[in-house]
C-alpha cells in the first residue's frame, strides 16, 4: 500500500493539463480525471493542484467578465425578457425595463462605445424596434446635448449635426450652417435667413382672414392698417413684403409700410392712379434676421 511515486506524478500531469486555463481556450475543456483505486497523492500536492488551477481558471474568467471588467472576443448575445427588477430601476430613477444595462459612474467617459469597421450598409449600431414603441430614446438629465455627430475632418470642434438639450437641431459645415430653433420655432442659416416671423391676410376692414397665429390686425383709418406682431416692429429688425388682393376691374392699389410707429407694423394702401387712401385686402410676410 505504499504510494507509488510514478502513479502520483502521472496523475498530477493529467490534472495539470486539464486545468491549465491561464490561456483562455475555445471552451472550458478538461481532461477526465482517472484516478485508480489505491492511488495515493500527498495532500499538499492535491491542494496545490486544485488551488493553482482554480486560481488560473478564476483569472481566465475574470479576464472575460470579472468585477473589474473584462474582454469578450466574439459575439455576445444578451437575451432577456426585460428582467431588471422594477425596484432596481426605481432606485436609479429609471422607469424602463431592459435586457442590457450599462452604467458609468465616473464623471468622465462614456457609458458605452461601439466601434465598427463596416464599409457596407451595416451601421455601427443597429437599434431594431419590432413593437410599436420608439426605436431609440435619449434622456438628458444634465444640460448636455442630446446628440453630437462628427464626421471628418475631426479637427473641427463643432459637430456636423447636433440635437441640443432643448431639441434645437444644428447642422454645421465649413461654409454654412442651419439651425432649427426649438424655442422660437424658426430656421436660421449662415446668412440669417429663416422662415417668416409671421405672415397672413388682412381684409379691407382690418380683420384677420388667416395666417400665422402670432399676430392681430386692426384698421386705423381708410387704407391704414396696424398689425400687432409678437415683437416690436422696426424697419431695422424686420423685412416686410406686401401684396394687394383684388378683384379683376378694381383700381390698382399700391401698398407700403409706414415708418415705425411705437412698435406696431402700420400698412398704407392707396389708389395708384389718384393717390387717395383706399381699403383693400392684402397679404404680408415678415422676416426677422435674429430669430
Amino acid at each position: 500500500m505504499k504510494p507509488s511515486g510514478r502513479h502520483r506524478r502521472l496523475r498530477v500531469a493529467i490534472l495539470s493539463a486539464a486545468l491549465g486555463l491561464s490561456v483562455w481556450g475555445a471552451a472550458f475543456t478538461f481532461t477526465q480525471a482517472s484516478f485508480s483505486e489505491g492511488d495515493v497523492l500527498s495532500a499538499a500536492s492535491l491542494n496545490a493542484l486544485l488551488n493553482d488551477n482554480f486560481q488560473a481558471a478564476s483569472d481566465a474568467i475574470d479576464a472575460k467578465l470579472g468585477v473589474a471588467g473584462g474582454t469578450v472576443t466574439g459575439r455576445l448575445s444578451v437575451a432577456a425578457d426585460a428582467a431588471l427588477s422594477q425596484e432596481f430601476l426605481d432606485s436609479l430613477g429609471i422607469d424602463l425595463a431592459t435586457s442590457l444595462f450599462v452604467a458609468n459612474t465616473a464623471s468622465t467617459g462614456s457609458a458605452a462605445t461601439f466601434l465598427a469597421e463596416s464599409s457596407d450598409e451595416a451601421p455601427a449600431v443597429f437599434a431594431w424596434q419590432q413593437g410599436n414603441g420608439t426605436a431609440m430614446t435619449l434622456k438628458a438629465a444634465g444640460s448636455g446635448d442630446l446628440i453630437q455627430a462628427f464626421s471628418p475632418p475631426f479637427s473641427r470642434a463643432i459637430p456636423a449635426f447636433s440635437v441640443q438639450n432643448d431639441g434645437t437641431v444644428s447642422i454645421e459645415s465649413a461654409n454654412a450652417s442651419l439651425t432649427l430653433h426649438a424655442a422660437t420655432g424658426t430656421i436660421e442659416n449662415q446668412d440669417g435667413s429663416g422662415i417668416p416671423l409671421a405672415h397672413g391676410t388682412v381684409d379691407g376692414k382690418g380683420d384677420k382672414l388667416g395666417g400665422t397665429t402670432n399676430w392681430t390686425s386692426s384698421q386705423n383709418d381708410t387704407g391704414i392698417y396696424t398689425i400687432d406682431l409678437p415683437v416690436d416692429y422696426n424697419e431695422k429688425a424686420h423685412a416686410v413684403t406686401l401684396t394687394p388682393v383684388q378683384k379683376v376691374g378694381d383700381d390698382p392699389v399700391a401698398l407700403n409700410v409706414l415708418l415705425s410707429n411705437g412698435g406696431d407694423l402700420v400698412i398704407q394702401a392707396r389708389n395708384t392712379a389718384t393717390g387717395a387712401p383706399v381699403d383693400t385686402t392684402f397679404t404680408f410676410v415678415v422676416h426677422a434676421v435674429s430669430p
Binding site: 467578465l65 413593437g131 434622456k139 455627430a149 442659416n189 407700403n256
Partner: protein
C-alpha cells in the same frame, strides 16, 4: 474516514457549482489534510462532474465565438479607471454591426434608451468613413437620415436612405428645400432710399448700390453668382409719401434692379424691403 470524505465532497461541490452564473468564478480553497483517504471513484466523480458543470456553464455564457446570456446583463464601470467607457464593443467584420439592439415594446421607452446624468452629450456619433451618421427607418424603409456631412433628409428614403427626400436640410449650402423647391429665402433685407444696406435687418449675403439706369434705382447682387433670373424677388416700399409701384428688372449678368414709379410715371428714390427666393430647377 467516511466522515472526512463527505466533508470534502461538500466543500468542492460548493466551490464548483456554477450552473447558476455568479458574479465571478470563485471557489473555496481545498483543504485536505495529510492522511485523508478518498476513493478514486468518488474523487473522479467529484472532479469530473463539477468541471463538466463549470465547463457547460461557462461555454453557455462565453466561449471563443461569443456567447449568450439569458437574462439581464449589467455592466457597471468606472471609466476613469478603465479608459474609454464602461462598455466597449468592436466589430472587425466589414459587413456587420458592432451592436444590434432588438426590442419588442409597444409602449414606454425605445429599443435603446440612453440616459446621461452628467452635462456631456447623451449620444455621440462619429463617422470615420463615408457612411451616414444616423438612419431612422420604419417598416417601409428609411425615413430620417443624417448624412455624413450633417445634412438631414426626411421622407421615403428607400431601404438604404439614399432616395430623394421630401425635405432636405443641406449642410453645405445652408438651405432647406422640399420636392417642389421651396424653402428658406435666399436673401432678404431693407434698403435705404440711397441704396444703402441696413445690415441689422438684412441677411449677410448680398450687396446693394445705386444703379446707373434707371435713375434713381438700386442694384442688388446676391452672393454666390448665378443669373438674376435664378431668383424670385418681392419688393415693398417703406415709408412712401407718394403712391409708388415697385418694379424689378435684370441689370447686367448679376444685378437685380429695383425701381419705383410714382403716379406721374417718374422714377422715385424710395427705401424698400425685399425678399428673394431661389427658383427651383425647371
Amino acid at each position: 474516514m467516511k466522515k472526512h470524505r463527505r466533508i470534502r465532497v461538500l466543500v468542492l461541490s460548493i466551490a464548483l457549482g456554477l450552473s447558476v452564473w455568479g458574479a465571478a468564478f470563485t471557489f473555496t480553497t481545498a483543504s485536505f489534510s495529510e492522511g485523508d483517504v478518498l476513493s478514486a471513484e468518488a474523487l473522479n466523480a467529484l472532479l469530473n462532474n463539477n468541471f463538466q458543470a463549470a465547463a457547460s456553464a461557462t461555454d453557455e455564457k462565453l466561449d471563443l465565438s461569443g456567447g449568450t446570456i439569458d437574462g439581464t446583463l449589467r455592466v457597471n464601470g468606472d471609466a476613469s479607471q478603465n479608459g474609454g467607457g464602461a462598455l466597449f464593443v468592436s466589430q472587425t467584420n466589414n459587413a456587420l454591426s458592432a451592436g444590434v439592439f432588438q426590442g419588442n415594446a409597444n409602449t414606454g421607452f425605445g429599443a435603446v434608451s440612453i440616459k446621461q446624468q452628467g452635462t456631456a452629450p447623451v449620444l455621440t456619433l462619429r463617422a470615420s468613413g463615408l457612411g451616414q451618421v444616423l438612419i431612422g427607418a420604419n417598416a417601409s424603409g428609411a425615413r430620417f437620415v443624417v448624412e455624413n456631412d450633417g445634412s438631414i433628409s426626411i421622407g421615403n428614403l428607400g431601404s438604404v436612405g439614399t432616395s430623394d427626400p421630401t425635405l432636405r436640410l443641406d449642410a453645405e449650402a445652408g438651405t432647406v428645400t422640399n420636392d417642389v423647391g421651396s424653402g428658406l429665402p435666399v436673401a432678404f433685407g431693407f434698403i435705404g432710399s440711397d441704396c444703402s444696406l441696413e445690415t441689422e435687418t438684412s441677411t449677410s449675403n448680398f450687396s446693394a448700390a445705386e444703379a446707373d439706369f434707371p435713375d434713381p434705382s438700386c442694384d442688388i447682387v446676391i452672393d454666390g453668382g448665378g443669373s438674376p433670373n435664378d431668383y424670385v424677388v418681392i419688393v415693398t416700399p417703406d415709408g412712401a409719401l407718394e403712391t409708388l409701384t415697385p418694379f424689378t428688372a435684370i441689370n447686367g449678368p448679376a444685378a437685380i434692379n429695383v425701381s419705383f414709379l410714382d403716379a406721374d410715371d417718374q422714377f422715385h428714390a424710395q427705401a424698400f424691403h425685399f425678399v428673394a427666393f431661389k427658383k427651383a430647377a425647371p
